[in-house]
């Protein structure tokens, strides 16, 4: 038991994580490419044209994965934040700040593709549908997190303050989603449902799943790249950084 704990703490030190992340990044890029190519092939060439929505429905192959990732990344961010706040591990805070821009990007992509999907289907770029509205608020939460962290100069304080905000946000997100849904049904607004189209074929589901995996691998790869940059920025006065092979050349 005690051995396992020691290993965990060793793993969670920036010094050991930095080279480890460097080794993992190419693999995640490779997985991104494999899943991406497979997903796009199915999405464009295997999945049949949708009877009601025509070819426009193919947007779901990026819209749904982006929405999933935007929500999932917030959860992961809150998890790292809680870990950092509870155990005072340096790496957790860095992970949380490395994830935030990617999460914001996913939320933005989800909104962008949602708008482009809405125009041909509903004749309007934006509908105040529960999903899109919650996604918009999630995007604001990401922006708030990034803004708060960049406004605080002291890195340790920025990590902790961001952690509190992420935790408050993660408690609030289900309530926000529920309230927006409630508001939406009360006002009987147009409800855009990308996933629940009745003619959802098995192949479409596969395509979406593969694309979701590609987005997932992408998010890991890019946030690992970013966390390496953050480690270098924060740990520059630690002795081990000067011993890095990148700096010897």
């Amino acid at each position: 038991m005690s051995n396992g704990i020691i290993n965990w703490f060793k793993f969670s030190s920036p010094q050991t994580f930095y080279p480890l992340a460097g080794k993992m990044i190419p693999w995640f890029w490779a997985l991104t490419a494999i899943f991406g190519v497979a997903g796009l092939t199915i999405g464009f060439f295997v999945a049949p044209t949708d009877a009601q929505q025509g070819e426009g429905y193919r947007i779901i192959f990026v819209h749904v994965p982006a929405s999933w990732m935007s929500m999932f990344i917030y959860l992961v961010m809150a998890f790292w934040a809680a870990l950092g706040l509870g155990f005072n591990t340096r790496l957790s805070g860095m992970m949380a700040s490395a994830l935030a821009p990617t999460g914001a990007l996913m939320a933005f992509l989800s909104l962008w593709t949602g708008a482009l999907w809405g125009k041909p289907m509903w004749g309007t770029w934006w509908v105040w549908d529960a999903r899109l509205t919650s996604e918009l608020i999630l995007f604001f939460l990401y922006l708030g997190f990034i803004a708060l962290q960049s406004a605080i100069d002291d890195a340790r304080r920025a990590d902790k303050a961001g952690a509190v905000l992420a935790l408050v946000g993660v408690i609030n997100i289900p309530i926000i989603y529920f309230s927006v849904k409630w508001w939406n049904t009360l006002h009987q607004g147009a409800s855009v449902s990308l996933t629940k189209s009745p003619s959802m074929a098995q192949t479409m589901l596969w395509g979406m799943l593969l694309m979701a995996l590609a987005f997932w691998m992408y998010s890991i790869a890019v946030s690992l790249t970013r966390v390496r940059a953050i480690i270098l920025e924060r740990e520059r006065h630690a002795g081990w950084v000067e011993e890095l092979p990148e700096l010897k050349s």
């Binding site: 464009f44 193919r58 990007l105 992509l109 890019v222 950084v241 000067e242």
Partner: protein
């Protein structure tokens, strides 16, 4: 196979703007973001190199 020809593929049944607008935005942003992240790391490395050199010179 869904498409008879390449032009049919690019036309996306009249929804070209929306479909390619979505996929294009994803592609562009998902290429730009990793480049920015990698650039952030090389900038940090450059700064470190400069700092180490400065420290060495002041020691000599």
């Amino acid at each position: 196979m869904n498409w008879g020809s390449a032009s049919e593929f690019f036309a996306m049944g009249g929804h070209a703007l929306y479909v390619w607008g979505s996929f294009g935005a994803c592609a562009v942003l998902m290429i730009v973001e990793p480049i920015l992240a990698a650039r952030r790391r090389t900038t940090a490395l450059d700064e470190l190199r400069r700092e180490i050199r400065a420290r060495k010179e002041s020691n000599e």
